[in-house]
Amino acid sequence: MIKVENLTKKFAGQTAIRDLNFEVGQGEIMGFLGPNGAGKTTTMRILASFLPATSGRASIAGFDVFEQSLQARAHLGYMPENVPLYNDMRVSEYLNYRAALKSIPHRRVSERVGDVKELCGLREVENKLIRALSKGFRQRVGLADALLHEPDLLILDEPTIGLDPNQIRQVRELIKNLGRQHTILLSTHILPEVEMTCSRVIIINKGRIEACDTPENLLGRIRTAGGVTLEARVGADDAPTQLKKIAGVRDVSESEDDGWKILSLRVESGTDVRPEVFRLARDRNWEVRELTARRATLEDVFVEITHSDEAS
């Protein structure tokens, strides 16, 4: 559905993205991750034909976004960052206007506008001025607009930014449901969201693709796959040194809470050190109140990938 080849974009001497290559297949939900300024918005704007690329090619549904931009745009529902809207229009009026711009046949306009209002929960504000809407509703108007012409592909730039937890949950559900019929490329900072919704993830940093895989594979790939937390009273023992002797433990950090030692262990991927830790605690007569394994999250992947780059 999306095909990107050697895409490069330079702004006045600065390279925003360099040599991007990726493909998004029909029906995939692709997450697009990266720190601020990594080039996510730039890439999305190029795909939406809003910005030209300096070199390289990109196509949507087989149409080049630059040469056949009009056809490419007809297949695309795009929701820009911060959702700019005409403040002086009413919600229904705006959606009708957008429907006409997107060449939805006259007889289907009211049906489609009604459908997206229903889908995005806009019924209660349909006659309000856009200027008077809260951030969450503006976001939904943007999403409704992107969905109007039933595009094959949705590109959503930070669809959940600025929403409260309930709204985030609603939008996430909505995106998941949309993924059944549409291909989706979405950028976000909220990593748990990506883990829950996306079938594949691209991590981009400083204009380069650092990783492109399924969330599960990404988690498996990183070295610090997870950790174990032990909370115990260890008496006079030097707990960190003893814990480090256990095979698989890479690092131990300690802190204290109310006389209890909180020991965080970083471990090699694919090893479970909990039985060993338990045995040690039993042998040394430590009083244990918690022993838990923490699963690695995409956040760990993200931090590791984007930080290792900074170090080099």
Binding site: K10, F50, P52, T54, P80, M89, L101, K102
Partner: protein, 251 residues
């Protein structure tokens, strides 16, 4: 065509959603109404060689108001979309650049025409009160309003061009105000610089909006200003289109 019509109706209605429209309408009707009143009072005192209609369209008062309205009408057309970022959803919808440029231009032209409609009432009221015709001939109406439309289209195209260059409405207004006044007052050179040859005077006269208005408001329909302003408008719209496309340049 439907997309163009959709864009156009959005443009026209956006004028009437904003307070600027009503302020411009009020200001313009106030100034032109005062002008009309003073012209008639003046004519009431002694016999003159021209019609009410000629006097109205050729007074300094009138022209002062005239050059001022264009920056006010056109400054927001593109600049506001750039500033609010609404240009992004607009241009990522399947619309062509020229559709947007023409919609913005004709939207402003329609608002400008609406601005002029009430002035027809002045002449109607004059006729009703005095039982005399305000103009020398029917052609004089055609001529004056045709000239207003032609010059208006040209100045609106200058305003659109200024607006596409920046995201700041004030800067757009200043650029278009300077360009429009410069063009307009270049027609006055012959009044200021007296020591020029008659050929030069004639050449400058072709470009003088004041002289063209004087001719047309007498009811003489001259085709030269028609060709001049239609082609100048097309040039400015071409430049606007090119400037609008710069965002697509591969730098």
């Amino acid at each position: 065509m439907r997309k163009f019509y959709t864009l156009l109706s959005r443009e026209v209605s956006s004028y009437f959603y904003s307070p600027i429209a009503y302020i411009v309408l009020f200001f313009f009707l106030f100034v032109s109404g005062a002008d009309f009143y003073f012209q008639i009072s003046f004519m009431n005192q002694r016999p003159v060689q021209y019609s009410v209609q000629e006097a109205f369209f050729n007074s300094i008062f009138f022209w002062f108001a005239f050059v001022l309205i264009f920056p006010l009408i056109t400054m927001r057309s593109f600049a506001e979309e750039f500033k609010l970022g609404t240009i992004e959803p607009l241009m990522t919808a399947p619309v062509r650049d020229w559709q947007v440029v023409l919609a913005k231009f004709f939207g402003a032209v329609i608002f400008y025409v609406v601005l002029w409609v009430p002035t027809l009432l002045y002449f109607a009221i004059f006729q009703y009160v005095t039982h005399q015709t305000a103009a020398g001939s029917f052609g004089a109406y055609w001529g004056s309003y045709l000239m207003l439309l032609l010059l208006g289209m040209f100045y609106i195209s200058i305003g659109c061009f200024a607006s596409v260059l920046t995201r700041n409405q004030i800067i757009a207004a200043v650029i278009s105000f300077c360009a429009i006044t410069l063009h307009f007052f270049s027609g006055l050179i012959t009044f200021i610089v007296t020591e020029i040859s008659s050929t030069m005077r004639q050449v400058l006269g072709y470009f003088s909006a004041l002289e063209q208005m004087a001719t047309l408001s007498r009811g003489e329909i001259d085709t030269r200003p028609i060709v001049l302003y239609v082609s100048l408008t097309m040039v400015m719209l071409g430049l606007t289109y090119q400037a609008f496309q710069t965002r697509k340049w591969k730098l």
